[in-house]
């Protein structure tokens, strides 16, 4: 699946947010939202980025698109380092990478017609005259399963699933190579979720799209991803192909995460491994391995030294002292 040069290559990406307090807004600490993560995505490939709320997966997705500026590290699009490109030079790369959001309500401007919403990227990049633009937008509408006659309507006239299709059409307008999906099906009803997942997969096959699929829903991620990166408190703790992650999870956190997923089959009786406690705050993450406070196997060593992400089998990376 993976080509010689991946579509997206992320190295040691960090994003720290200052914590400000008091009248003078002095910086009193740093939120280590993303704390040095590396991964790559090949053409036509889906990388699932999973983790619980606050693990930094959404921040990572936005930093990749440079919707927020990374603190350190590098992002390469098709071999070109875009981390420090000035705004103007970045614009052509914006055409190659787009985003689909979670909330189908706030992701569309309520005061614009959906036809204008989908056509706006084309206008901004000066890609088509008004007439051609209409035709292209109509074609996009048809492709995502909407009627071109609906182009003149406003977002509130559509259901959640239809709005998500509009969001996908907008992302497709510029013909991108990479789409970052930030929980793109999490807000949808189960029956609609399946429609949107199928649409995303069909589009991927048709256009050789690459997806960075951010989600907390392990069942959806298992279905759609070729490879998976599991994040915990700003770091990737396990990174491997989907089969390895689900059949032979190596990190204790991945293990616990999988065991906690409710399986829609009452005949499956599993030994659950329920984690104690909550995710610690990313403002002052625990020293050493971030997971040691909840890890059932933690040793003294884990509290002192952070384990590096090591390749323990071909393509299977784990950051744990015990493996």
């Amino acid at each position: 699946m993976v080509d010689a040069t991946p579509i997206l290559e992320v190295k040691d990406l960090k994003k720290h947010f200052p914590v400000r307090k008091g009248l003078l807004r002095r910086t009193v600490g740093q939120v280590h939202a993303v704390d040095g993560i590396s991964f790559s995505i090949g053409e036509g490939e889906t990388l699932g980025l999973v983790g619980e709320s606050g693990c930094g997966k959404s921040t990572a997705g936005r930093a990749v698109l440079r919707l927020i500026e990374p603190t350190a590290g590098s992002v390469r699009m098709a071999g070109q380092d875009i981390t420090h490109l000035p705004k103007k030079a970045l614009r052509p790369y914006r055409r190659q990478m787009q985003i689909v959001f979670q909330d189908p309500f706030s992701s569309l401007n309520p005061r614009m017609t959906v036809g204008d919403i989908v056509g706006e990227p084309l206008f901004v990049h000066g890609l088509a005259k008004a007439r051609e633009r209409r035709e292209q937008v109509a074609a996009l509408f048809e492709r995502v399963g909407l009627r071109p006659a609906q182009m003149a309507n406003y977002p509130h006239q559509f259901s959640g699933g239809q709005r998500q299709r509009i969001g996908i059409a907008r992302a497709l307008a510029l013909g991108p190579k990479l789409i970052v999906g930030d929980e793109p099906v999490s807000a949808l009803d189960v029956s609609i979720q399946a429609q949107v997942i199928n649409l995303l997969q069909d589009l991927q096959r048709e256009r050789r799209l690459s997806y960075l699929f951010i989600s907390h829903n392990l069942a959806v991620v298992e279905h759609i991803s070729h490879r998976i990166a599991v994040m915990y408190l700003g770091r990737i703790v396990e990174y491997a192909d989907t089969r390895s992650i689900f059949v032979r999870p190596q990190h204790p956190y991945t293990e616990a995460l999988l065991s906690a997923v409710p399986v829609p089959d009452p005949t499956v009786k599993r030994q659950k491994r329920i984690l104690e406690g909550d995710v610690p705050s990313p403002v002052n993450p625990p020293a050493g391995c971030h997971f040691h406070t909840r890890c059932p196997y933690a040793k003294a060593h884990c509290k002192v030294e952070a384990p590096p992400l090591r390749e323990i089998a071909p393509g299977h990376h784990v950051s744990c002292h015990l493996r």
Partner: protein, 297 residues
């Protein structure tokens, strides 16, 4: 269990309300005070626009013979000490009030939107500086600031509009800034950025249109204040000068000397001011309820 009248309940919810007219009737029934306000404001605007047609005589035409004439079939609302027809003057006064109110509100909104949008969108030190400036302006009451402005600019119609517009800026800027702050975090703004759209275009095309609903409410409510301030300024001789008939000045000219001998000179301008301000406030309240999404079901 009590028997439920489905039709009555449906009617209350506004089912089968289609078309412009029945919708108007429905809202009039739900917000009766708002409807009263709307009628008053509509009458006020109509009067101001068609003052030339409605007024029987020239409001500036003097005639010493009829000085302080009481209300009669000739002078419906009486005449002032220069023998000018009060009825015509009240009607033309509406034009001055509307010109000053709408002009000041419009100018105040344009400036306020620019400052609020810049403040909320750019944040950082720009926001800090602009907000402190707004704080200073808001520390003085609308009227006091307007008096200072008017006194330093000198009385004229244009200066009055300007003097009232400036003190209105902070409240508009506040409203626009606060909606901008929440809007710029929304995914559709992020999507525009992901497409590579410039920040100015995002601000104008994606943020600004979504701040308008609360602004309309504010503008309607402030229209009343602007009219009131105009009257106050003119009362103090700082507002609209002669020969424009201003309700405020009509009051001030007559209040001290003629209130006992010719009370109609004080009553009618007073009624006109009160009624107009009352109407805009009622309409503003109803609009606030109507445009608040939480009130809609």
């Amino acid at each position: 269990m009590t028997v439920i009248d489905h039709n009555a309940a449906l009617a209350r919810a506004g089912a089968n309300v289609t078309g412009w007219w029945s919708r108007t009737l429905f809202f009039a029934r739900r917000y009766p005070l708002g409807a009263v306000g709307a009628v008053i404001v509509a009458a006020f605007v109509f009067t101001a626009v068609f003052a030339d047609v409605i007024a029987p005589v020239d409001p500036t035409a003097t005639n010493a013979k009829y000085s302080l004439a009481p209300p009669s079939s000739m002078f419906w609302l009486g005449a002032d000490f220069m023998g000018r027809d009060m009825y015509s003057r009240i009607i033309h006064g509406a034009r001055v009030s509307l010109a000053v109110g709408a002009g000041a509100m419009g100018l105040g909104c344009v400036l306020g939107i620019a400052i609020g949008l810049a403040s909320g969108y750019l944040s950082g030190w720009v926001d800090l500086a602009l907000q402190r400036l707004m704080d200073i302006m808001q520390a003085l009451p609308l009227l006091v600031l307007a008096i200072i402005m008017a006194a330093s600019l000198g009385p004229s119609l244009r200066n009055t509009i300007f003097a009232i517009a400036i003190p209105l800026v902070p409240s508009v800027a506040r409203v626009v800034r606060s909606s901008t702050l929440s809007l710029r975090e929304l995914p559709f703004v992020e999507a525009a950025r992901a497409v590579g759209m410039g920040e100015l275009r995002i601000a104008v095309r994606h943020v600004l249109p979504n701040t308008l609903a609360p602004l309309i409410v504010l503008a309607t409510a402030q229209l009343g204040s602007a009219i009131l301030v105009e009257a106050s300024l003119s009362f103090l001789g700082l507002g609209v000068p002669e020969p424009h008939p201003s309700w405020g000045r009509m009051l001030s000219e007559s209040a001290a000397e003629y209130v006992r001998t010719a009370p109609w000179l004080v009553i009618w301008p007073g009624v006109a001011i009160s009624l107009t301000v009352f109407g805009t406030n009622l309409l503003g309240d109803a609009l606030r309820d109507l445009l608040d999404p939480r009130q809609r079901s």
